[in-house]
Amino acid sequence: MSNSSDAVPDPILVVESVVRRFDGLVAVSVDHLAVHRHTITALIGPNGAGKTTLFNVLTGFDRADAGSWKFDGVDVSGWPAYRLARQGMVRTFQLTKALAGLTVLDNMLLGASGQSGERIVVAPFRFRWRAEERATHERALALLDDFGLSARQRDLAATLSGGQRKLLEMARALMVEPKLVMLDEPMAGVNPALVQSLLHHVQRLRDEGRTVVFVEHDMDVVMSISDRVVCMAEGRVIADGTPEEVVDNQAVVDAYLGQRHARAR
């Protein structure tokens, strides 16, 4: 356990009254939510609680019907996904989106922001971006090394295992140099041997000074590494606190139990 939850509250992400409806059904209705800098915040809740929808809305992959949110002091409500990423809020996906037809290295290089060779007027002139590309290359190799993927750099991402793709996606997100990393179920479908390695990487992100929010529905995983836990049910935040506070919260217990009951029926 880390003690950084004792740090002075300094929210990097503040959500106010965000609502998302689908065909009249309220999928998300969050009155207030703050994510503090340099912490790991877990977003938990039973299936259908609206965690991924909230994620999609906040990261610009879905639109909100109402509400606003601030990232790093800037009102970013309704910004398109790419601008949010450039601002420093980068996400991963529940179903990994490793770009299967690109090599592992190309996946990484793609992540780097502000490459001048990505501008169509500069791109044909290799000498204009060669040096920059070399630097990006080095950064990518260092990260791949960290994540144990450097041996696979020339392979197509399609050839990686499920867990390796999760690692690649996380490493690729870091190429953007985000302040806030939003991980959507990073442990889902990962073989148990790799889970520890993934958790270790998540903790390292925080220790390097980044902020992490991750969606998870397995309580045990959450307890071990999170500084704060936010629990959602039926689109609302029903509990928000330290792991210990949340696990004892009656509403949380009910939400999970309720689901278990529903499943039993």
Partner: protein, 434 residues
Amino acid sequence: MPKAGRVVVVFGLASISALLSGGRAHAVTTTTTTSTASAASIGGMLTVDNHPVPGVRVTASRGAAEVGHAVSDRRGAWRIGVPGPGTYKVALDVSTLPSGVRAERPELAEYRVFGSFAQSAGFTLSAGQSKAPGGQSRLDVFLNLFVSGIRFGLIVGLCAVGLSLIYGTTGLVNFAHGELVTFGALIAWLVNTMSSGPKLPLVLAAIIGMIATGLLGATLELGLWRPMVRRRSGASGRMLVSIGLALFLRYIYEVIFKGAPRSFRQYAAPSPVKLGPLQSPVRDYVIMAICLATLLVVGTMLRRTRLGTAIRAVSDERDLSSASGINVEGVTLLVWISGGMLAALGGVMLGMGSQGVQWNMGFRLLLTIFAAVVLGGLGNPYGAMAGGLVVGVASQVGTYWLPSDLQFAIALVILILVLLARPQGILGVRERIG
């Protein structure tokens, strides 16, 4: 029609004669040296206010020598074979024009033929000063256009439902759907008119055409699409295959049935009946009734029957449906059969109209069908019906203001405008934005 009964009209109707040439435009002759006979020809349609003008003599000449002539047929169509590329003089014999009709420019002095294919030449005919044929008022013209728009829209709707269902259940944008439309009409025409054939009445012939097209749909699904899906071909690969299939089938039709439009033995040239301001033959009302009834039956079946529910389930969530015990492949097969039958019915109905049955009739309709399907929201069968009506009415009524050679363009412009405003279509549900 606009301005003091002056009826601006037609021409080499772009969508007909141009497509007659079927894209051979770029078979550039400078590089071919084969000794085959030239297939160059000049042709067009003579109409006034959408009424064909038959019996007009058109001549083509080079220098002083006449190279060919033709007389416009019942549909107003004429075509003259010419020896090959070069500049010709194409002229209308004004003395053969019906009284009250005159040609704005009866002579095209330098008409250039530049390949071995069917080209179109336009003559603008206008009706005399006083009144359009039948002495209709402007409101009457509008109403009649509206009604013929509904008829056309219902036919488009029939074809569009099948396309939409196929898209919904299989994810395939089927570019060969027009060829199903043509197939139904051609089979019905064969059974109805072929001299060595049974010469069945049109009603029976239409049913046989529908059955045959349903079988064609089933054959394609079993022999082509299902194996491709099993081999995990992507939707894009199948879309390209459907383009190849469309070319393949369409030009086989042309080889077998040749270029000219044909008509059924019955109901070919009925006389219009006056019903208030409306002037349509009884046939047109029957067509509308059949289309409407069919659409209602299909709509009800989709809502009320187990099969309909299964089809809608597969449309929504193919994988989930499979997991919940629905026979997805069986449902897909049925959708191909019923989509084929609906297309065939649409084809027969279309073939009963003034354009007749022709090898490329379905292809000419394809983009209009696409417009209907997209307007209604891709994969939504009810939307496709509504989209068909909108496109049909708009393209007909639009000719009240615009020259009728732009009719087809009107439908497509509407499509693009609607996409701008409501990408999910008229009835579609808004998807998440990217």
